[in-house]
């Protein structure tokens, strides 16, 4: 558990440093090529915040073992898993009209074809993952 805390803290620090370095390079008139600056700064801060929140959560559980046990029980609880499964399925089903709406909006915004195809591929990949797990679980059960 303390190893996880150290790992998350280290990753948070790494990503914050990465984004700070990219930002400084930009300010010192040594900008990075094209979109890399934005990717490193934005992505670095985003990932830094993500790992910082995981580190803070892990720190809380290190100090509060009872809360950790409750979280683990909750995670394994059959009712929780049933609810998660049903919610995930409903999210998948409602994903189709949401995706279509987004796709249409992008189309009217004159987004290049490549962008539209990437969005389509993302949706199909998500559905493919669902189909894969469906088949796998049907065989297992």
């Amino acid at each position: 558990m303390k190893n996880k805390l150290r790992l998350y803290t280290a990753l948070a620090a790494l990503f914050f440093l990465l984004s700070a370095a990219a930002y400084l390079l930009d300010k010192l008139s040594a900008p990075l090529p094209d979109r890399w600056g934005g990717l490193l700064v934005g992505g670095g801060v985003g990932l830094g915040v993500f790992f910082l929140s995981k580190a803070l959560t892990e720190r809380y559980y290190v100090k509060n073992q009872k809360a950790r046990r409750m979280m683990e029980v909750e995670d394994r609880d059959e009712r929780t898993r049933t609810i998660r499964g049903m919610a995930a399925y409903r999210a998948l089903v409602s994903g189709t009209p949401i995706f279509l709406s987004v796709w249409l909006i992008l189309l009217f915004l004159d987004v290049p074809l490549a962008g539209l195809l990437v969005v389509c591929a993302g949706y199909l990949l998500n559905f493919g993952v669902y189909a894969y797990h469906l088949v796998k679980l049907q065989k297992e059960m």
């Binding site: 029980v73 059959e78 929780t80």
Partner: protein
């Protein structure tokens, strides 16, 4: 599904939290089981019946 879970739990002097700890489920699951909003898996039903030294049919009443 109607059941006698609350009655049996109280007869054994247990709180919902105590029962949840023994069954290794969340307290919310025990609450949902007791008021019939959630039906247990067969394994959980067996665990409950064994805990109270009775049969599944004595705990849970299936009505069509």
């Amino acid at each position: 599904m109607k059941n006698r879970l609350e009655e049996l739990r109280k007869a054994h002097g247990m709180t919902q939290e105590d029962l949840a700890d023994v069954l290794e489920v969340s307290r919310q699951t025990v609450g949902s089981l007791e008021n019939g909003r959630y039906n247990p898996s067969i394994i959980l039903a067996f665990k409950i019946a064994r805990l109270f030294h009775t049969t599944i049919e004595e705990v849970f009443h299936y009505e069509e």
